[in-house]
Symmetry: C2
Subunit: 380 residues, 2 copies
């Protein structure tokens, strides 16, 4: 670049260089994708899981070292490689999966056209199982549809689950009966009552937007004859999911804390903002990245189906007492503020910090990564 070049000329030349590098970048990523697709095909032939934690760790370590040697940020390289690996899981996913149990001739998904039902239907199909869905209109033929089923999965809205299960009294004895509802005690009770064969309660811990099951969790609550449904859990693992076994009551208690309580309190906060007459546009403009993230977590709920959330919240009357206790604790802590008792408040704070233990720091680190992401989302 000559010294006499104008500022504009120099800037344009540098920007052209960047565009050229970015062009090479896209080409390189396309090449990478072609190779990872081959890996997926190769693995699917022998039924090896797509996600290999040790390979991931060693790959990241090598590139971090190279980045440091090249004078660029190792965090930058790790972030980019994690994003690439996530994408490659999706592409590998498309190559199909090993079928763990070829003896399973027919899977029926009740509510298989719903969001969650479709995800499972798709995965089973790509694992070479024969899948049939049973929707509302199909009930007149249900006896035929269910007569030769080896696995029946109930994937209907939470308010219909018990009623649908009660209709399944004449399944073949060896058929596995499973549900995917977000509560587990009640459906499991109904399934055990209606069916004498193998029973398992499942709670897939992901939303309808999931792109493949790699690193996703499926909670499994034992019902009856686990040795007969063991292959099903293995199939989930072939898809990349982590199976987390837990007792149904403990599951429901945990969910009341992280799911019901958080949904309810988020809805109440949205209602509070509206009722206080807050100016949402101004709040957004004035938000720091962390408050924007808070607002995202509130606002996202209200773009979704009210019935979905209402059903989850209203599904268990036992949660009401627990949520009331939250409101009273909230008022109790507010009393510290009113009495200007900073000492009591910080003492409580430190106690909770101790209770969180190592997770407090882990979450702080993770939130920093999330904030970097939130910053990137800003368009202006």
């Amino acid at each position: 670049m000559s010294n006499t070049a104008t500022f504009e000329q120099q800037l344009t030349a540098l920007r052209d260089e960047i565009d050229d590098i970015d062009g090479q970048l896209v080409a390189l990523l396309a090449k990478r994708r072609a190779v990872t697709t081959k890996v997926g095909l190769l693995k699917s032939e022998v039924g090896m899981p797509i996600f290999a934690p040790e390979r991931e760790a060693s790959l990241l370590k090598a590139r971090r070292q190279q980045a440091i040697a090249a004078g660029i940020s190792p965090e930058l390289i790790e972030d980019i490689l994690r994003r690439l690996m996530q994408d490659s899981y999706i592409s590998q996913d498309a190559s199909g999966y090993r079928c763990v149990n070829p003896d399973c001739k027919k899977i029926v998904i009740i509510g298989g056209d719903g969001q969650l039902g479709r995800i499972f239907g798709d995965l089973f199909t790509r694992s070479h199982y024969q899948v049939q869905t049973l929707e509302q209109a199909d009930w007149p033929n249900s006896t035929d549809i269910l007569a030769d089923a080896n696995l029946v999965i109930v994937a209907v809205p939470i308010r219909l689950t018990a009623m649908i299960i009660q209709k399944l009294s004449s399944l073949p004895e060896s058929c596995i009966l499973a549900d995917v509802t977000s509560i587990k005690e009640a459906p499991l009770y109904e399934m055990m009552k209606v069916h004498n064969g193998p029973v398992i309660g499942l709670h897939p811990m992901f939303g309808p937007d999931v792109t493949g099951l790699v690193k996703q969790t499926i909670i499994a609550c034992e019902g009856r004859l686990p040795e007969q449904y063991h292959w099903l859990l293995e199939q989930f693992q072939v898809w990349g999911a982590k199976v987390y076994p837990v007792e149904a009551h403990a599951h429901d208690q945990a969910m009341s804390m992280v799911q019901v309580m958080r949904h309810f309190s988020t809805i109440a906060y949205g209602y509070h903002l509206m009722t206080e007459g807050a100016d949402i546009a101004q709040l957004v403009e004035m938000s720091s990245p962390i408050y924007r993230l808070e607002l995202i977590m509130v606002g996202r709920l209200f773009a979704q189906d009210p019935v979905l959330y209402t059903d989850i919240i209203f599904a268990n009357q036992d949660n009401i007492a627990m949520m009331k206790r939250f409101a009273y604790r909230f008022l109790e802590l507010l009393e510290d503020v009113q009495l200007d008792d900073k000492q009591a408040f910080t003492a409580m704070f430190s106690q909770v910090a101790d209770w969180f233990g190592d997770y407090a720091n882990i979450f702080l680190q993770e939130s920093k990564a999330m904030l970097i992401k939130a910053d990137q989302l800003k368009k202006h």
Copy 2:
């Protein structure tokens, strides 16, 4: 690859190919970084802002199109380029900034060794201003330190702000007095009372981990003689920040909703989890990405200084009544659940959804991008 190669051999060969591509990737990114650093130097010579929204948009558009043509995901390429641009803002940042007002001979930052004070001290220094900090030990010499100041910034903890401002009664008449506290009405009132020259209240909407001010917001509340501090706001913009002017009372009201209220309610939720005897390790294991994100937002608070949060919450007694109203609304909505009045609950939900308007969908989209990021953070 020969057909007789074993599975292991084939996998190793493909993995070597991936490693080779990743090595080229790191080299390419180092090259990109070298060019963006040159752009930063060039821009700083003429004082052009680092962040150019139109260039960013056109760059992304071109690469998305190339990605589609190459059969890879345009979202993948956009995510990676946004991450790279964010990194390049940091490197460009290191090249220094244009000094908007060379007539400003001396800037004093009271509390300049604190987290926020250091960020501003560093930025002013890299913009070729002379910066002096005034810490507790320096107060005996404060008359000398402040005598020839053109700009004094109060960056002390919120509980000390009023007291420190009251000590600033003999600043030079033309000196700009500013504070960076997270409340604005009270400090602005104190500054106007103690000083007759130009006054401005600032609230930087970012945390101490910020890496450069590109795309960050600084809220500005007018005090007195804005034409005399106009250069300061321009300097913030040179650093890449967005200046958002708002009236002090409106600022404090908005902050009570997004900052005080959210902090308090998050702390109360942590206290609730502990008091209910929840098993945090199990909650984490059982979390879906969205609940993990919720837990991150709660736990991150407890890894930080309790005094910081206590001070923010206790700073304004006016907030107590508003927060009480939240608790009562929470109990009011809980009544719908107790009475099994789903209709009332969904009606309320839809009303709030209307109030959020377009933001609900925007936030839902953004939360999906955040969830992809949260998934990437998972180590197993």
